[in-house]
């Protein structure tokens, strides 16, 4: 029996969906990715349908659903979480929340064969969501906890000098420390997290038995002081 896994993401200005099919002979992934600022509510589910139709898979054939659980745009995370939770709940199948930063690291590794990756997403308010990774043969190992911080506060976990920065957070390049800049010969600030890599990571997590009942899988915002009002 082949495994069918659907992933969707709305964590940035982009929106994406991917369908991964895995059987004894191997795995294939069909994906859609579009820049859709302010159109996530109109594009996310139609894109899901496009990948399902292309793969000739009906929703009831899905074994698990995954979504970009964050960090990222709060509203986008919740649109993806709601759609994914609704799908998984309706199908009575497991749900997986995938880190947008890890998906970004995998993307950089697979596209550019990078080994030491710093992922950073623009968190607004002068901060970034960041984490550091070692990537080897499609295996991604976190080297630091995901955090929301000022670019100046980001430290590298080792003394390698071939780090590559990936993600919108590096549009704030000048604000990172000189030490970090010297250990980072290049940075790519135009990559966004995608459902395609989330599907691969979800297949790994699903195989490890990490799928959960839909309501247990929640967005990970990282920034939690959001009231911006002093308690009365």
């Amino acid at each position: 029996m082949p495994l069918h896994l659907l992933a969707l993401d709305a964590s940035s200005s982009a929106c994406s969906a991917a369908l991964l099919r895995q059987d004894e002979t191997g795995a294939t992934c069909l994906a859609r990715f579009e820049m859709t600022p302010r159109a996530h509510t109109r594009r996310l589910l139609p894109m899901v349908d496009e990948v399902l139709a292309e793969a000739q898979v009906t929703p009831s054939q899905l074994d698990a659903v995954a979504f970009g659980r964050g960090p990222g745009s709060f509203t986008g995370l919740r649109i993806a979480a709601g759609a994914a939770q609704g799908l998984a709940f309706g199908l009575d199948c497991p749900l997986l929340g995938i880190s947008t930063l890890e998906a970004l690291a995998l993307q950089a590794h697979r596209r550019y064969h990078l080994r030491h990756v710093v992922t950073a997403l623009d968190a607004r308010m002068g901060e970034v969501y960041a984490a550091t990774w070692h990537c080897l043969k499609d295996t991604i190992t976190p080297m630091s906890a995901e955090a929301v911080l000022a670019p100046e506060a980001l430290r590298l976990p080792g003394d390698e000098t071939d780090w590559v920065g990936v993600g919108s957070g590096f549009t704030l390049w000048k604000r990172f420390t000189v030490d970090l800049q010297l250990s980072m010969p290049q940075h790519l600030d135009d990559l966004e997290p995608r459902a395609e890599e989330m599907a691969w990571l979800a297949a790994r997590d699903f195989a490890a038995g990490l799928g959960q009942t839909a309501h247990l899988v929640q967005p990970v915002y990282l920034r939690n002081d959001v009231a911006w009002k002093k308690p009365a």
Binding site: T41, L45, R78, G90, P231
Partner: protein, 351 residues
Amino acid sequence: MRVLGIETSCDETGVALYDTSLTGGKGLLADALYSQIAMHAEFGGVVPELASRDHTRKLLPLIEQVLSDAKLTRHDLDGITYTAGPGLVGALMVGASTAHGMARALNIPVLGVHHMEGHLLAPMLEDEPPEFPFVALLVSGGHTQLVEVQGLGRYQLLGESVDDAAGEAFDKAAKMLVLAYPGGPQVAKLAEQGDPKRFRFPRPMTDRPGLDFSFSGLKTHTMTAIRQLEAAGELDDQARADVARAFEEAVVDTLVIKCRRALDQTGLKRLVVAGGVSANHRLRERLHVECKKRHARAYYPRGRFCTDNGAMIAYVGAQRLAAGECDTYGIMQATPRWPLDQLTPPVAADS
């Protein structure tokens, strides 16, 4: 048709199941509500981002609860409906995305509906529902409107508040009187101890024709009264109760005068009163008297359906879905501003 209704427009997560093959109170199979009031109380008002986060946590467990209360499974559902607006956009999107995802999985129709249409028709969930046409007073923390209702989706706005909503005025008066959030019911409670003759506050916009309301001047008047008492060293417990009483009398009197006018102007004999402020006892007493004089009758939703709830959304959505109306597949609706009189009767998706 068995329809799941989802309400996430503000600070209450509401879910309910309505069956259109049964009517009135019987059609409602189950309903559940999670109120975030305690969380927002700490901040003296609703914090939109916290509200959205909480909806995402609470929605699916509530859906499971109503299905289990009704002894049904997700496969027994024939449709899903959710509040598409008006409300907090981030909060609306939680209901919209979950409803659309679930509807896709179950391959059933889904429809976004108008929150205030839910309030308007909430009395339909009672055992003796009003017949169309009727006049409705929607009076809550976000709205003060008089609407002529000819039928489902046939609404004519007769008048509305030009500034603060009546419930908002209650909450602000509560803050001035240093009462806990949300303060409306606390003001009413304090007013019970007050002397109605000590102060007389203005009845805004009642001295001229028309059905619009204004409550911001009353708010200022209340503030001035409290400051004067404070300056004179007379702001004791009795004085606070007297101010609360004068304030409540002014709001209730204003609402009653406009309802009376609306009934006279339309010649209708049925008045529906819905929204959080409709729970106010003095308002109900006064409207009862006015209706009796006119051989008219006032209808109210039961207490827990006066405030935001999933049952009214399930009801309205079920009527519209049963008539063939539904969202385009995958297009989630979240409309933070959406005038009630833009609604139309149900339009079948294939017409």
